[in-house]
């Protein structure tokens, strides 16, 4: 099934510049939410969304609707950019730790663990899978193509992520009583 944004992308490939603005309006919120939930860094998330759209414009003819939805294609671009930037940032952080902004976790002092903290505590490989599956309603195949991992790995990581989240929220669950 061809989605609205896929049709718009085809129009953009055929020279309709206004179609890109509509794609941006449609996909910006979900792309930003994914990056923000992954990193919890507002400015970083904005940079990644903007860089992803620059890359989409630059390589607009690389997109083929037969290979998947535009949303998956854009998320793949964004995920790769984000991982490259995070790895680069971590390298610099090792050498010059005092140059880097204080992490959001260090500013947060709530006693009770929130879902934000629980998601942030997940190992990165598990975090991406659960975010894409739960919040963006992506299939195992789509997640596998975005993250560049086999479908079986997506399933096992999703299972593990759910288990880790449950363990993390367990205390909160017993405080509130079971639902």
């Amino acid at each position: 099934m061809i989605e609205r944004e896929d049709e718009l992308m085809i129009a953009y490939q055929n020279g309709d510049a206004a179609a890109l603005d509509r794609i941006y309006t449609l996909l910006k919120p979900s792309l930003y939410s994914f990056i923000f939930r992954y990193t919890r860094d507002e400015q970083f998330s904005i940079d990644i969304v903007q860089d992803s759209f620059i890359k989409l414009q630059r390589y607009k003819h690389h997109y083929n609707p037969k290979n998947g939805k535009l949303k998956s294609y854009l998320f793949q671009i964004a995920y790769r950019l984000m991982i490259t930037k995070l790895n680069r940032r971590n390298k610099w952080r090792t050498f010059l730790p005092f140059l880097f902004p204080i992490a959001a976790e260090e500013l947060h002092h709530a006693d009770r663990i929130t879902i934000r903290d629980a998601v942030a505590k997940l190992p990165e490989i598990h975090r991406a899978v659960i975010l894409l599956f739960y919040y963006h309603d992506m299939t195992h195949d789509e997640i596998a193509s975005i993250l560049g991992i086999p479908k079986g790995t997506v399933k096992s990581r999703l299972h593990r992520a759910i288990q880790l989240l449950k363990d993390e929220l367990e205390g909160d669950y017993y405080e509130n009583g079971s639902l």
Binding site: P29, Y32, Q43, F98, I102, H159, L165
Partner: protein
């Protein structure tokens, strides 16, 4: 068919649904250039690298560090000028 592993986990589902993200309004094209982003990074609040030396449980480092520093400077002066 897509299996939903959250189907039986109502509690986890309700917690995940609590996680809302407010999407700020920003244009498609970045206003700030690469070097401006770097300047923003440098200007953001950062950790003090001397923090572990200054803050200790009983504050003894606050006393020890100036004394040790003064002693070191005195020693350097003695070695160079005497």
């Amino acid at each position: 068919m897509k299996m939903d592993p959250f189907k039986k986990d109502h509690y986890l589902r309700s917690k995940l649904d609590e996680y809302h993200v407010e999407v700020p309004d920003f244009p498609m094209k970045p206003k700030a250039k690469r070097w401006e982003r770097f300047i923003n990074l440098l200007a953001s609040p950062a950790k003090n690298p001397l923090e572990p030396l200054i803050t200790t449980a009983n504050g003894s480092a606050l006393v020890i560090v100036p004394i040790a520093g003064t002693a070191a400077i005195t020693l350097i002066q003695i070695l160079f000028f005497l």
